[in-house]
């Protein structure tokens, strides 16, 4: 049973603040859409909140999509995101399972290594990563990005999945072993399917993180053909100083945001629980 607030004025004020904040979140998204349909003239002559004039300039989208090569950046982002999320899931699920179920010499140290790495600022690694990838010939490649991103996702995945595997009853594995399943069979045919909710949660959070990642992409990629969406957005906004194309810029923002918004709408619960799971250490 929840309490009702008796004072109507207090209730009104609270509602007003909630609505105000809701507007502050939704309105920028709305104006991103409206402004992506304007031309420069409308930006400079009309108020920023003015509706776009007719005809709506949907051409801004096709313009960034083909002229700005957003079709390529979109694919790059997709490849890098899916590649690193998949690889990270496999690598963190295997290690998490062993750390959750087996004790062996060094198992505790290994656990501490992954957990404590979450305390270390990633900026520290930026400079050496650049030279490491350079010496491996992986600068300006999607593979290079995938490798670095995968590694950056491991600790979080291991941490959350250990908790998940520990929550599964041990009897299931014992039964599988009695049935003659090998260690690998038990993991891949019994444990992995059972941990699907955990894997989905981690996977979605990873997808969001990598899709949105900017700084590593900027450092490891300077060949425009290999840009990911956030990297290109950064470049585009820097270029705005001498090449003003506001409409296309907003169209580009929308192209970048819409996939994550759709994912958020579908997987809201998993995202909220997954993102907070990493914070409770």
């Amino acid at each position: 049973m929840n309490l009702k607030i008796k004072n109507p004025v207090a209730k009104l004020i609270i509602y007003a603040i909630l609505i105000l904040w809701g507007v502050s979140v939704l309105y920028p998204l709305l104006w991103t859409l409206l402004d992506s349909l304007k031309n420069n003239e409308q930006f400079f002559l009309n108020a920023p909140w003015a509706l776009p004039e007719l005809p709506l300039l949907w051409s801004n989208f096709s313009y960034v999509w083909s002229k700005y090569n957003f079709n390529a950046y979109f694919v790059n982002s997709l490849v890098v995101t899916i590649g690193s999320t998949g690889l990270a899931l496999l690598l963190s699920a295997t290690t998490a399972y062993v750390l959750a179920r087996y004790t062996f010499r060094g198992s505790n140290a290994l656990f501490l290594l992954y957990i404590s790495s979450m305390m270390v600022p990633f900026v520290l690694a930026l400079i050496p990563l650049f030279f490491l990838m350079n010496s491996m010939g992986l600068i300006n490649t999607k593979l290079g990005l995938i490798l670095v991103y995968t590694s950056s996702l491991l600790a979080f995945g291991i941490f959350v999945l250990i908790g998940f595997f520990k929550s599964l009853p041990k009897e299931l594995e014992e039964a599988a072993i009695v049935d003659g399943a090998s260690y690998y069979g038990t993991f891949f045919r019994v444990m992995l399917p059972l941990s699907q909710p955990g894997l989905i949660t981690i996977g979605i959070v990873n997808i969001l993180n990598i899709w949105n990642e900017y700084i590593v992409g900027t450092i490891l990629i300077n060949d425009p053909a290999q840009y990911t969406l956030p990297v290109e957005i950064g470049v585009m906004q820097a270029e705005m100083q001498y090449r003003t194309e506001w409409g296309p810029l907003f169209a580009a923002l929308l192209i970048t945001i819409v996939p994550v918004l759709v994912m958020y709408m579908i997987f809201q619960r998993q995202i909220a629980s997954g993102i907070t799971a990493g914070a409770i250490k």
Binding site: M1, N2, L3, K11, Y15, L18, W21, S24, V25, L26, P28, F43, F44, P48, W49, L91, T94, T95, Y97, V98, Y102, F104, S117, M119, V120, P121, V123, L124, L126, I127, P128, F131, L132, L147, T150, S152, L154, A155, I158, S182, Y183, L208, E213, Y214, I215, P230, I233, Q237, W246, L253, T256, V260, Y264, Q268, A272, I275, T276, A279, I280, K281
Partner: protein, 300 residues
């Protein structure tokens, strides 16, 4: 099957599940971090293999670099501002959306979290547009109330421009901590509040004597988390919005590292800035943990 082969099989299984991940993590995370610490003792332009060992000279130079001090000051300004702003609003929203029985609570909750799924780059660009002196929202809005058209360069003040970076940082951060606190509040047994009701304790009293003490663990985690993510990652929004300018006045340690290393090719100096970021975040974590431990309320 004898005991020897069984043990052998078990070990092979464990090794095959541990080692690939560890190699990966070693090469692309541990090795770069250690290298980063190591580079901080060198002078190195990055262009050649020629690194000159200079001991602690980079760190001595930092002591006399006014931008470093400014950047550290800005970092802690952002930490303080974000902790205050985010915790205040996130706690308010979390309480309002759980304790007051609003019908639209679920809807607000979903909406408030949206900024957390959007890329920082996009957020930076959106706020740049709000602040834009010619066509931005803020000036256009203020112009409604003045005779002359307002044309303030919001991101160009010689001092205090760092203040302008707080609203986007707070706006972007709230949803996450709100969700964390909502989960904490929902795990408090309803009977506590009912008992308080019977005793005639008002909302405010209940907040301070039930909600805060029983969610203190999550409040602590939130504050530590805001601190760490700010010291370690706030430079991305700084970089997108001001590139540390004007005249390095909004530089934070992360953005200064990026500028020194990747713009000015002082990779050794950049690495030593990274070293200091690590030390600062560790010290601050320990300090905050001590500070907040004294406030922990014993609950029965």
């Amino acid at each position: 099957m004898n005991a020897g082969t069984a043990k052998w099989q078990r070990n092979v299984f464990i090794a095959s599940f541990i080692i690939p991940t560890l190699i990966f993590f070693g090469v692309f995370t541990i090795y770069p971090v250690v290298q980063g610490l190591y580079y901080s003792f060198f002078e190195w332009s990055g262009m050649s293999d020629k690194k000159t060992f200079i001991g602690l000279d980079n760190f001595k130079e930092m002591l006399h670099d006014p931008i470093v001090w400014r950047a550290i000051g800005n970092d802690y300004f952002l930490v303080a501002g974000k902790v205050a702003g985010i915790m205040l609003l996130a706690t308010f929203f979390a309480v309002a959306l759980t304790r007051f029985g609003f019908r639209l609570a679920g809807f607000f909750r979903s909406i408030f979290f949206i900024p957390n799924v959007i890329s920082v780059v996009v957020i930076g660009v959106l706020w740049n547009f709000i602040y834009n002196p010619q066509i931005g929202f803020l000036n256009a809005f203020l112009s409604l109330f003045t005779k002359e058209k307002v044309s303030i360069t919001w991101l160009g003040f010689p001092d205090h421009t760092i203040w302008m970076l707080l609203p986007p940082a707070i706006w972007a951060g709230i949803g996450f901590y709100m969700i964390l606190l909502i989960a904490a509040i929902q795990s408090i047994p309803e009977s506590y509040y009912e008992a308080a009701n019977i005793e005639g304790a008002g909302q405010w009293k209940q907040f301070w004597s039930i909600t805060v003490p029983l969610t203190w663990e999550q409040i602590k985690v939130s504050i530590l988390n805001i601190m760490m993510t700010t010291l370690n990652g706030s430079f991305v929004i700084v970089w997108i919005m001001t590139e540390g300018g004007p005249d390095n006045s909004t530089q934070v340690m992360g953005s200064y590292l990026y500028q020194m290393a990747f713009r000015q090719f002082h990779f050794g100096y950049g690495a030593s800035i990274g070293f200091v970021i690590l030390v600062l975040s560790l010290i601050t974590t320990i300090a905050l943990q001590r500070l907040m431990r004294h406030d922990t309320v014993e609950m029965s």
